[in-house]
Symmetry: D2
Subunit: 242 residues, 4 copies
């Protein structure tokens, strides 16, 4: 809208706050996605091959936590810099077409569509589990899954078994919607407090003395982010140097 000139007022993009990215996206969603998958399935993560679609802030949080629970993590990425970061952090990086053949659990978190396609579904092992922690139920191609399904039944609260025409069974969690919100409780209040504080600070900046005068997308300043981090650290009882 800003690019096309249809944005009628100043906006502050809180999503780019360093504090929100670190706390909410990475560590909040990292924990709650693992939580959602465990609640939905009741499976053991140790020793499993856990495929994470993406290595942005959210996906990295999931990858780190899945590894922390003993899973072997494969990361798929399209962006070379992100793939390189993942590899240097000790994750296996492979194309989804290869990961599809070996994964026990798949969790997409890219913000893109069709991260898992019909071709990938065709390669998956009997018993593979499909979850999404990215935005909306578009990361897994649900139509492709439906096209291959001859029978489906709910086996647990948020787990639907899809029996495919070739007999393999795939397990879709939370209808492909955001698994940490549907199957768990979303992010802890201790994470959301920082995100809400960033939103409040953005509102104050939009009405304050130095508010932006023209329509456009603005950001919290580095100083704002440091102030948010300082407040959050204080609630955690953590002191820093001056």
């Amino acid at each position: 809208m800003a690019a096309s000139g249809t944005l009628a007022f100043p906006v502050i993009s809180v999503s780019d706050s360093a504090v929100k990215l670190a706390l909410d996206n990475t560590h909040g969603t990292g924990q709650s996605t693992i939580d959602g998958i465990v609640r939905a399935t009741g499976i053991l993560l140790a020793g499993k091959i856990f495929v994470v679609g993406g290595f942005g802030h959210v996906a990295r949080g999931i990858a780190v936590r899945a590894r922390g629970m003993g899973a072997r993590v494969i990361v798929t990425e399209t962006l070379p810099t992100a793939a390189l970061r993942a590899a240097m952090e000790g994750f296996t990086v492979r194309p989804m077409a290869e990961a599809a053949r070996v994964g026990d659990i798949f969790c997409t978190a890219t913000g893109m569509c069709d991260v898992i396609t019909g071709d990938h579904l065709d390669e998956m092992k009997d018993g593979a589990i499909l979850a999404n922690a990215g935005h909306f139920d578009r990361e897994i191609d649900l139509q492709a899954l439906a096209d291959r399904t001859v029978e489906e039944r709910a086996v647990r609260g948020n787990t639907v078994e899809h029996v495919l025409f070739d007999g393999r069974r795939l397990y879709l969690l939370a209808d492909g919607r955001v698994v940490n919100l549907v199957a768990a409780e979303g992010n802890p209040s201790e994470v959301m407090d920082a995100t809400f504080a960033a939103q409040l600070m953005a509102l104050l900046r939009l009405v304050g003395d130095r508010r932006p005068s023209r329509p456009g997308v603005y950001y919290l300043s580095a100083e704002d982010d440091e102030e948010l981090a300082r407040m959050k650290l204080a609630t955690l009882g953590i002191s820093t140097d001056r």
Copy 2:
């Protein structure tokens, strides 16, 4: 009973099976205890100080998983060899009297009584969380907690807030009972299958040709454990060398 001569028949102690210790005690309970604490409280583990009472198989599993979720873990132990192992694995080892002053979450898993006493409760921070994953509700001195409580209320399904006479609030999970069974679903079926297989193998050994003829406590042989592990690996699709 064996020592006192009152054991009337042969018994095989499945609890000492290497497969059961590795899978069930360490990785099963490690995951499900974290699961129970998160479901009961909804808190973020990253950055928290998580005190684990003990460093036996169960406690070590909890410590490893808590660290995997981003917590800073303190281990308390009475056994010097276990304390040394914990320290070499990078855990902070301190007496409970010191850990009590700094911990955010406490989880006992020793199989002993009174791991957390009234003296420890007196030192804890406002807001500390108390859980137990060991045997029975004797690891936290519940009477000492009751003696200090002036008001209590359920704040979530398995979390009771205890307001102490000095105003501090402590949060007791699952009434001090085994938190992974009460607040989560216990260990995954993929863990219990190995434990049940060990029990079945013990039964076969008790009725087979080479069954023990005298009353006493017996164990599965090393060969039995290797056979159990071989079957479990096969279900996981893992091959080894010959």
Copy 3:
């Protein structure tokens, strides 16, 4: 120089390349700093308290690797956002004045002066080890160390024992110079190749068709960084999705 108008030609700051930051600063220096400290001292890292001054790219790499070797890591920071990131990754964050009292090994990597001051030296335990992996020998106040030293002797190739007036002994590595260059071999060639490729690309951009026409500090583009990462991934045999 750019700000003061004295910069006479266009410059590309390769140091800000995402590929250089990830590979060279974090993982290259992370490994080689640990290497330098082990070669200089011959100590065991497991179980030690390892204090890292800073949590920028270099310092984070050192913190992650020290933890990977079994040390308990304390991070000191002045920047709240960096401190928060460290805490969420499970590191203990404390002011240097507190860390000074408990650390076994100190390694500064901030790019600032006087991260470890005389006041900090006064608090350190007998036997503490001092190293620097940041820029130049200014992060540890060497004058303050000299002022407190009554006797010094080389105990190993790059380790000098300082006996202080109160009898405590501190061990300074590599004269406070960059420990991974002095006591080890610097960063592996597999890291430097990417950094040198970034430098070559910067040179090509400075002489190419779309070279900057005015003096100033420029950066590699996101596309340049992706191209560098793509080449590096190819040498590692790692494929990504398209």
Copy 4:
């Protein structure tokens, strides 16, 4: 010798001391083997595929530390219980014949012969690195390597390049001898002190009042091990509960 009746005096097997196994074998050799490989080769471990032959105390220490340095670790084992433990700790477990095709670095630590055979050498990638941390230079089949080598040259102090008849190059470290002793400095004194203390305690037990009267292999008692651990913890400044 004990089994054949040729052992002429009582012997205490210090190698089975719980303190020695935990400290010396696992954490001492774990660190010093990584150290030896890095000093011999100068390579970056992050992102590499590091194959560990075995998952006993020594091999596990190496696997844990290699992972701590950012490598992706594959474990090969013959013993199913050890393979299962490795898998549950998040390591990839595969037969050596499969690992041979993908590994960047191989390190044997089994105490057996011919862990890496000619067949495995035939599968390895150009540039693979071969090291041994187990007992003696028998774990890698050096004759098989020699049979395939058309040219060899020392490329660094403890690294010999073997150009094979098919043009591939393999790099043998320390002539296949124990890499932590040859290419690094062996285990830190802080580890050996505990091992030497165990040896001294064994001597005291062999001459003390309750010394064994008949030839045979004896062990330190659990109480002896706890006493050793207690002393070691005291030197580390670590307190435990009573």
